[in-house]
Amino acid sequence: MSPLWILRRIGFYVLITVVLAFFAVPMLWLASAPFDSKPGLGLRWPDWTLSNVSATFDHPYTLSSLVNSLILCAIATVVTTVLAALAAYALSRVRIPGRDLLLYLLLLLSSVVTGTAAMVPIFVMMLQLGLINSQFGTALVIAGGMLPAAIFILKDFMDAVPRSYEESARVFGASPWQVLGHVMLPVARPGVATIFVWAFVNAWGNFLLPFLLLRDVGQQPAAVLLRTLYDEGGSANLTVIPVFSLLYSIPVVVLYLFVNKRYGFRFHGGIKS
């Protein structure tokens, strides 16, 4: 217990406290403002009330926008997970001609072509196809953007599954579909779950693409409506915004708690040096 050691412990705890405060303080608003009788853009001990909650449910678009978020997110997430699983499995197991080049291009695409960099052509393309205000079309655009990274991460998981499992299944006469459904997917389940959660969180929070492509308020997801509540009529609708922010955040938080408990939030060798 030298003085130096004590000094370093103190330094450590001061540093950790500062970091904790930095990350926690902004989030306190989400706990206080929804239940404050005069919610504002600031932090204070709330004058407790539930009237904001009923005001939020009475707003004509809040609930429908959450449903829209769910539809958009469900389509994008399911399409991404299913197509990425099929592609990753085939790429992991079969040496298709040009496979290495394809994987290299996918890796480049996943990081280089982003929704922001490609927003103009995506907007023009959907405009000319008449798919502005189409939830299905928007969901497919979101899925297309997530697929390269999803294939890449899933392929890593599938590569880690020993080939002997499938070989023994085939010795017993399993068809390729049975091998995929009864051997591969159960073994690679943590990988598939990772992609599912990752795609869901991404699609749920996506603002830019629905903001560009869904111009009709009846079609818009919560991400866009929340922005409209801020802009609309020149001032922010502060009775509705806090409660709505909380409602909109709940699915992501629940999913996070689930993953944390079930798998632990770690990189499982998905990212190599």
């Binding site: 904790l20 990350f23 902004p26 853009l41 001609p97 695409l109 052509p121 939030f265």
Partner: protein, 298 residues
Amino acid sequence: MASSVPDSSGLDSSGLGVRRAVGFVAPALVLIGIFLVFPALWTLYIGITNYQLTGPAAANPRVVGLDNVLEAVQDPLFTNSVWLTALFVLFSAVIGQNVLGFALAWLLRSASQWLRRTVEGLVLLSWILPSTVVAFLWFAVLSRDTGTLGLLLGSPETSWLVQYPMISLIIFNIWRGTAFSMLLYTSALAAVPPSQLETARLVGASGWQTVRDVVFPHIRGHVLTNTLLISLWTANDFTPFLLTSGGPNHQSEVLPVLIYRQALESGQLGYASAMSLLLLIGNLAVALVYLRLLRRRA
């Protein structure tokens, strides 16, 4: 990474066959082709036209060649935006998220279980909350009169997002994105042999010496991967639009915001495409340099 797992002699353990395998990959490739590759290539074409959202040039866009690109590189709004984006990436991602993410991974490695979980939980939460919600959380911190930061520092009359827009965005983005670096460095540190750390401790190396001479050589590849990814994400992040919309007076107009405003608010689709093209080329250049560095190491 791409060819890290060589096929064993049993070419196809799944019994799929090449034809069915192509069928498995095709649906994903079709979607990627339509919604990612095609738009990227089309940027090239729209970028050399005077295409506009409304007006005569909307119906009959005319090819203007490289004029848009030449105009962009001389446009003070564009050069200002490139400069702001560079500052944003350098201070919030390359320095901010990298250093804080590594520091957290390094410090928490020996911390008690509950402390570790609490810190990691909060850092992760700031990463996964939807961006529109996060924007409100930071309005509540940075706004005038009632904002938390103003109360803490005793200067409620400061409107941080208006008076210090870029610094606010940089601090915000460190808060928003550190989780990824922390996760990546935590798993990287697990790969450093404990015996070497023990040796460093026995010879009396300081914390900084240990990091520099023992840890860093092991995680150099991770640092490279992490820096590349967070830089690209930060340069292409649209969240600054939610916080400042580029204002006041273009002082925080990073490239994604400038492109959006030129395309959808001014209707200059061709001109905005030329800027997108320059952003895509920038992304591509960074990614190619990275892949080359990675290959040289391998």
